[in-house]
């Protein structure tokens, strides 16, 4: 029997499988109605969830969540620290960051002298 080809097995079992197909479980309307009721229940639950405010918890937690969570709080704290540092530091020491004075000197020396040369050329025709 173990070496029987599959077609033989199918033939031997065909009558049994046909019988199983011909005797499906009885369809219970109550069961189908219960399934349909579940569907309605899920829809109602979904509508309730959609209507619920999304934020909950303590006021501070809600505030943090509304302004973007810990990432935005960290960014704001870093900005505030930089602002305080800039406010308390003597203006000269900030040149290190900006180099504005040196840039201004360069402009005075070179750019304006070139500009005056061009003006002289125009005047001479």
């Amino acid at each position: 029997m173990e070496n029987k080809p599959e077609t033989n097995l199918d033939m031997e079992l065909a009558a049994f499988f046909d019988a199983a197909k011909d005797t499906p479980p009885a369809l219970d309307t109550d069961f189908l109605e219960a399934v349909a009721a579940d569907a309605l229940g899920q829809t109602e639950d979904r509508i309730k969830t959609d209507r619920k405010p999304q934020v909950s918890g303590y006021p501070l937690v809600r505030l943090l969540r509304n302004i973007g969570g810990w990432q935005s709080v960290a960014a704001m704290t870093a900005c505030a620290c930089i602002g305080i540092f800039a406010g308390y530091t003597a203006p000269n020491s900030l040149d290190y960051f900006s180099n504005t004075e040196q840039a201004a000197e360069t402009l005075n020396d070179d750019s304006f002298s070139v500009a005056s040369d061009i003006e002289t050329l125009f005047q001479e025709g």
Binding site: D10, F16, T23, A34, L40
Partner: protein, 190 residues
């Protein structure tokens, strides 16, 4: 709108309609799929009440997933069969063995004639023999030969290769033939 008015509407479209709150779409999906899920569950569990629980649970999961349903990715029927199969396998593993005395008679809602009685007896004999198969063989044989799905569909449901499906069904059928051999005469098959 009656649920049968949506007979021409595809499952994916019905899922979208249901996700948008259309209860007729839900009824249509229920009447289209719940009987098949129930039939599979009953064949695997051999217990009407448990099969109804499983089928209802599988359908409930379908309702829950409806808003996130991705059209064209999986067929609703395949998805439901997979969920129901897994739920049945979980239950069978918890029970560890089915008492053959508990196997219910198949449905008895058709005219009672001699041929019908014979058909019923064959179905009962098959059900009893199927209960002795390992659960995955039982599932593969049921899907292939009673639900009449093809091997690629079964492979998708059981999440195994097509070769594994063929092996499971072949081994299952061999065992069934052995178990039913002695009853063939009594069942009018010799």
């Amino acid at each position: 709108m009656a649920y049968d008015a949506m007979n021409d509407v595809g499952d994916d479209a019905l899922m979208v309609l249901y996700a948008n709150g259309d209860q007729d779409a839900a009824r249509s999906l229920t009447y289209r799929h719940a009987p098949r899920v129930l039939a599979l569950s009953r064949r695997l569990l051999a217990d009407r009440a448990e099969a109804e629980d499983v089928a209802q649970d599988a359908m409930l999961r379908l309702w829950k997933i409806a808003p996130k349903w991705r059209q064209g990715e999986a067929k609703v029927s395949t998805w439901l069969y997979r969920v129901a199969s897994n739920l049945c396998i979980d239950r069978l593993r918890k029970k560890k063995g089915t008492n053959l005395d508990d196997i219910p008679e198949p449905a008895d809602d058709k005219p009672s004639v001699e041929a019908w009685m014979l058909t019923k007896d064959r179905a009962t004999a098959l059900q009893a023999a199927m209960a002795q198969l390992p659960v995955r063989q039982r599932l593969a044989v049921t899907l292939r030969h009673i639900e009449e799905l093809n091997n690629p569909q079964i492979a998708e449901i059981m999440e195994i290769s097509i070769e594994a499906v063929e092996s499971l069904t072949a081994r299952g059928k061999r065992t069934l033939v052995g178990l039913l051999l002695g009853q063939k005469e009594k069942l009018g098959l010799e």
